[in-house]
Amino acid sequence: MPPSRPHIIVEDLRIGWGTRVLMEHVTFDIERGTTFAILGGSGSGKSTLLRYLIGLEQPMAGRIDIDGVGEPHRYEGVPPFGVLFQSGALFSSMTLAENLALPLTMWTPIRGATVRDLVQAKLELVGLGPFAEHLPGEISGGMKKRAGIARAMMLEPALLFFDEPSAGLDPISAVELDELIVTLSRDLGITIVIVTHELPSIFLVANSCIVLDKTAKGIVARGDPRALRDKSEVPFVHNFFTRSSPEASVNQGR
């Protein structure tokens, strides 16, 4: 049986603004049904790269191909993926149920009780069943993120992007969210791309990853995060996974 085609193919991507190049020679594949992490320190361009993957920006050069249907910034019609933004990005004037129903009423002919059933099921999937009629301002940050995940899943995408899902959450909420991500990937077979710098999350959820570095203007390592932690000889990658500063590793070397 031939190996299945990667879900996302990124080839020789160059991104930036005007004449300023932020990253170049960015090449990686993401396998179907896996959880892939985009890692790097603050300002390394993780979230920026995500904006290109979901088609909010047009690359200067190179190619992004999602599911073999072409470049994300050229998509028209039903988006083939769902996105969880850092803040959850729920519409504050709508209840959670209305937020979730929005993509369904926009892109499908489904109406009425069926919409309510689908919305309620997704809210229950992320543990927010009793909060359907709450406004985003009435729930906590962690709950907003879970509601954001539910909304991202409303069109049953095979691919989900998460931008810093654990940022600003307490450790328990962060672990609950990580477990939800693992469940989504395992039970629903969804490909998940997650942008983060939270080490516990990375080891819990990610099958493979790339590590970005702003000084290298691109990818400095790729592979299984546990293997990179244990075996990488790249100083930045070693420091990143062992939570140490460059000075500390120099001192350790003495």
Partner: protein
Amino acid sequence: MTIAVRAEREGDRGRLVPVGPFDLAHAPAVATAVAHIPPDLEGCRSIDVDLTHLDRIDGAGAVLLARFLDRLDPDGDRARVVEERNAEAARLITRYRQKRAESPPARTRARSALTKIGAVAADLPARVIDTLDFTGGCVAALPKTVASPRSVDWRSLPRLVQQIGADALPVTSAANLLVGVIIGFLGVSQLGRFGAVVYVPELVVVAHFRELGPLVTAIVVAGRSGAGLASEIATMKVSEEIDALRSMGFDPMRWLVVPRCVALVLVVPLLTWVGDALALLGGLVATVAITDLTPRAYVLATMDAITANHFVGGLIKSPFLALAIGLIACGQGLATQGGAAAVGARTTTAVVLAIFGVIVINALFTLLYVVMGV
């Protein structure tokens, strides 16, 4: 493509066979297929759900099938999804059934029109108290501002004067000029019937200097700067900047409200004064254009009509109108709670209240002048 749920029965054992694609793209057809419980299955002791003939299933299809099974078997002990034949689909359906069983019922927010009216009425005393509280806070802030000038963000004052004053000058000037033209035309058409065109300059002076000049300028400033100030402070409130100010020991009333009100009080009389001058020009253009009155005669008649009473009587109102705009806009901004939608709602309320407020204050001044015989 056929989408159905076939039901078969052997004695007290039933069998359900979903057929076709059970996914989001076919959700309306799936919803129709699972809308009714087949009568064949009533009274069955056990029901096997055979997923062999499912072409496709995703979360949406699984939810609809899970809800169907919930209705068919509320206790969850009769219907059994046969996992061996389509393990992935069975897992998906089971996940949505389990979650359903674990969750408590959702609370409802639906409210009738009568309930809404009641809620607004019940909210009224709290709103009045909030308004009084804010007014009291402003009054209390004044002596504190004098005692501690550093508690006010004076550095923002030049920027505010620029935004509220200089940037608004074209629009207030244009509005006043046009009002002058309108009074001129109106005066000519009405006074002309009695051969009293020569009194049009006096009409423009009295009507505009005493009433319309301060009012028109204040309404334009309320619409323009009132909205700007309210939305700025409302955005600061929802993005926790006001909380940050408080946490650092700043009083938002003094730090934010005082410089904005001071800027308005300084600038609105100046805008009114410029507006008065342009209204005279508008009246002159209108009158000279359609009557035999010469520009020189018009200017001389205007000079005779301008008295200190008219001029000062108008300008003295402007600071009060400006203060009302500032307090209403800042008060609404600080009262914002919620997200982006609340910013819009508060801004709208601020503009409406500010315009209504300046009209009421102007009317009160007019009444006062009449009583005083000014």
